[in-house]
Amino acid sequence: MTFQEIRRRLEDFWVKKGCLLWHPYGTEVGAGTLNPATFFKVLGPEPWRVVYLEPSKRPTDGRYGDNPLRTYEHFQLQVILKPSPENAQDLYCKSLEVLGIKLVEHDLRFMEDNWSAPTLGAWGIGWEVWLDGLEITQFTYLQQAGGIDLSPVSVELTYGLERIATYIQGVKNLFDLEWTKGITYGDLRRKEEKEFSQYSFKTADIKLLLELFDRYEAEAGRLLKEKLIFPAYDYVLKCSHTFNLLEARGAISVSERLRFIERVRKLAKQCALLYLERRGK
């Protein structure tokens, strides 16, 4: 089964379960959770079901395209079910079956792993899902976003598509994955990986990034005052990615790190509060 087929089957499965088929966000994010379709939609009481692909960019994970399992950018398939249904685990298991995985023949395990994204003030309780020892999904009951208690609670499923695909295709190196017939993941992405790794670790202009962080932060604050939640949130995301780049570049000390995280978290929280306040207006 090709990489793109795996994605399509999972999307189809969740669309049939009542999920809206959404799209990736237009600015760099480190995880599907940062997409407004999760960050804002899990707030408040309205039900919400969505599935979307999210190319997730994590500068510190860059390995110049040399590591068989780690990359600067990887593809998450994100599912939000709000409120979390009683059969959330069963639905998830069924979704693996559409990929041809017969669970009776495997060792599928829900291994304790609580998830948190400090820059977003978001955290949840849940598991890493292991398929015969391989981590393929993060399964989380979100408890807070933007530092706000969530009610009802959403369940967030984050499939690591590369991991699942290497398992299904039986390859050891994700760059050998067949994206579609005759084209590998490596053909499409290796060069990009190499360049972004070099940029994140060596070339990124620290001075510029520090300056940008300050300006993005200020702009987010200004827009919040104007009650422009979504534009403000875009700048929060830019802050978050800039911080990730600075970290990969080794430009942030241990104690400074906490302060940067706190600055982004504060803005994210304001966005969440404002969203709740103006919800339905």
Binding site: V104, D107, E112, W127, D132, G133, S151, V153
Partner: protein, 703 residues
């Protein structure tokens, strides 16, 4: 007819947190017993079971009803309720009516000194099923968890979402509701092998149903199946395997299926065994060592049910990928000499006031050297080298990947970079003990660095204003101090603690006198608490914690005093000692200046005797003191008791002649010096064995 029944409560959940599951196993039966007792329901036995997906309470021999209750209500006084002839009055009749009893059933009882009329009625116990229906929701809610969560729309919180509740009292389903969950007589089997649901008839049938549907409820049985599997499938008969790993593996599955996997041999040649072991454990595998302690090229996986071949090869591949990563890190790390990683430490800013990690190791270097000298160690250069390099591994990729290998990686890389064996050992061992009961460093040189590391850290936290007395310990400062004291006590290190603290403070230019005082208080508090944990009573702790200069001595004094106080003669001796201390305090209150003792001024027989007794034993006392044999020392002191008693019975200390008076006080003061070496006896409580009364020594003095 009363009957005994069995009861099963199964709380079906999504995969529980391991810690919560283990905690519930203990907490659930305790809570159940408490509730049953409070509701007057008798039972024979409470048992609990758990798997990742269920917590189960099993009550055996539970009564089918509550015990009956006699209820007594007092009414009007006897002389109002009955007339002179003993006939009931309107008051009695009215009271009986209100209590729904016949007048003939009224009894007369004393309430205080007054005779009153009482109505006694028997309240029949309710059926157990009715009580259970009412109390089970509360039982569910009262379980405690490390981090409870919510799910869906429910307001309930629990370790992980509850998906079903089964409650059966013999054949009867106990129906109750918690939020949107209804109890029933349905259970579920293994998630994939036999999901169910299954209707359960009674408790016996419950156990049967689970067994048939691939759920092994009893964790002891799961563990023993794994043990057996290791012997048979991995051919590890008679070999020791880490019992904690077996337990953990068994607690993570409902139906253990053992797979014996292999480790690619190339990695055993390239990577240190500890790295491979860490990688295996990361994947929840069980590694093995042979009789000589060498890592075997295999590991076990305890899968949840299925033994399909593909599972084994997948686990092997996942480990392979981790080891490939580790190999890459290992080779990258070794590309530069280990000492060069010190440069990286300069980039790790720990805190504005405290500087970088490199500043920290520079302080450690100085302090560890000083400690080494205090301990009489010769190889100070090696200690300093070890201290300087011991945090370098924090900058390596290997430690970033496997933080639990810090220390080990440093020692290993050090050795490969040409550091000598002692330095490498210091780097590896200086973290020990990492937790209470962990092994201690083998080399004193490593202890010196370990102590320096902890002191620098604790002092740093104090300087940046971390509240060391706060109830939580997020920075692990107490753990650091406890580790330090454990090393000093167990390895009997002779260190002058206050001097050491002074030296530590002097390494921080910004530290003030208050930091030093804070450190002293903190250590005093830690030692006090650790002694309390060792069962040393409060009065003894107060009597010895005046002088912190030698922590080893403090502990030994405490133990000796504790043993001595339990001997039959102790309280009488303590009283005799008190007379000495007592009168000296009085003299002090009267502002009498003590003069030097002069033997020729002794005139009474009893005082001459006391002095010669003292003089005869002083050599022995000094010797015992030097040998630190405190119990013998106490016994020797006790020998003075008859002489002290006779002195006080026959000699008037506070006589008018100041010369004689002062000389007698001087004699007592000589003797008192020998007591106070050991402890402040005025803090010790005298336990009077005859009457069981206890009196505080210090209150005797005041009298």
């Amino acid at each position: 007819m009363k009957k005994n029944l069995d009861f099963i409560l199964e709380i079906g959940t999504e995969e529980l947190s391991l810690q919560d599951m283990r905690h519930s196993l203990k907490e659930l039966p305790l809570l159940a017993e408490e509730i049953l007792t409070r509701n007057n329901i008798s039972f024979k036995k409470t048992l609990s079971f758990a798997t990742p997906r269920r917590i189960v309470l099993y009550l055996k021999g539970i009564a089918d009803r509550q015990a009956d209750n006699l209820i007594e209500v007092s009414g009007p006084p006897k002389d109002i309720a009955f007339d002179k002839d003993g006939n009931p009055t309107e008051a009695a009749k009215g009271f009986a009516r209100s209590q729904k009893v016949k007048v003939s059933q009224l009894v007369v009882k004393y309430v205080g000194k007054k005779e009153v009329v009482c109505a006694v009625s028997k309240k029949k116990g309710k059926p157990t099923s009715a009580i259970l229906r009412r109390v089970l929701p509360d039982l569910l809610r009262s379980l405690s968890f490390t981090q409870p969560m919510r799910w869906g729309k429910t307001r309930l919180s629990f370790s992980r979402p509850i998906r079903w509740i089964l409650a059966l009292l013999d054949e009867k389903t106990i129906r109750f509701r918690v939020e949107n969950l209804n109890s029933s007589n349905l259970t579920y089997g293994h998630r994939f092998l036999s999901p169910g649901p299954f209707r359960v008839r009674n408790p016996a049938n419950y156990f049967d149903t689970l067994q048939k549907n691939f759920v092994i409820l009893d964790r002891e049985i799961r563990a023993s199946l794994i043990r057996k599997g290791l012997e048979e499938i991995c051919s590890l008969k008679g070999r020791k395997v880490d019992e904690d790993l077996i337990r953990e593996a068994g607690d993570l599955v409902e139906y253990p299926a053992l797979l014996c996997c292999s480790i690619e041999k190339q990695y055993l040649k390239i990577l240190p065994e500890r790295v491979i072991e860490s990688a295996v454990k990361r994947g929840k595998g069980i590694p093995f060592r042979d009789g000589k302690g060498n890592l075997l090229p295999l590991f076990a996986i305890v899968a949840n049910g299925s033994k399909n071949k593909g599972i084994k090869s997948s686990y092997e591949e996942v480990l392979g990928a981790k080891l490939a990563d580790s190999k890459f890190f290992y080779q990258e790390d070794l590309r530069k000499p280990f000492e060069k990683y010190g440069e990286e430490l300069k980039k790790i800013i720990f805190h504005n006031q405290l500087g970088t990690t490199f500043d920290r190791v520079k302080r450690m270097e100085k302090l560890a050297g000083e400690i080494g000298k205090d301990l009489g160690l010769k190889d100070i250069a090696n200690i300093e080298r070890g201290a300087l390099l011991c945090k370098n591994d924090l900058a390596t990729q290997m430690v970033r990947e496997f933080p639990e290998l810090q220390g080990f990686v440093g020692g290993h890389y050090g050795l490969l970079s040409g550091e000598n064996e002692l330095t490498s050992q210091i780097i590896e061992e200086h973290y020990l003990p990492r937790f209470p009961g962990d092994s201690l460093p083998t080399r004193k040189e490593a202890m010196a660095v370990g102590i320096a590391d902890r002191l620098i850290a604790i002092c740093g936290y104090l300087i940046i204003g971390i509240d060391l007395s706060a109830s939580s310990d997020p920075y692990g400062v107490r753990r650091l101090a406890n580790g330090l004291i454990e090393i000093v006590w167990k390895k009997r290190l002779k260190l002058h603690l206050p001097n050491l603290l002074k030296k530590t403070v002097s390494l921080f230019p910004s530290a003030t006198e208050s930091v030093y005082r804070g450190l002293v208080d903190f250590f005093k508090q830690r030692i006090n608490l650790l002694l309390a944990n060792d069962g040393i009573p409060a009065d003894i702790r107060a009597a010895i914690l005046i002088d912190l200069s030698d922590p080893v001595q403090i502990r030994e004094k405490a133990i000796s005093l504790k043993i001595w106080k339990k001997t039959s003669s102790a309280s009488a001796s303590l009283e005799a000692f008190s007379r000495v201390t007592n009168i000296l305090k009085q003299a002090e209150n009267w502002k009498i200046k003590l003069t030097a003792f002069r033997k020729e001024l002794l005139k009474e027989e009893a005082e001459k005797k006391l002095f010669s007794h003292y003089q005869n034993m002083i050599k022995d006392l000094n010797e015992l003191w030097k040998k630190e044999e405190y119990q013998e020392y106490l016994k020797k002191l006790e020998e003075l008791k008859p002489s002290i008693d006779s002195f006080f019975d026959n000699v008037l200390v506070m006589e008018k002649n100041e010369v004689f008076r002062n000389n007698r006080l001087a004699l007592l003061s000589l003797i008192n010096q020998e007591f106070s070496k050991l402890a402040d006896f005025s803090e010790l409580e005298i336990t009077n064995c005859d009457t069981g009364l206890s009196a505080n020594f210090s209150s005797n003095i005041r009298n």
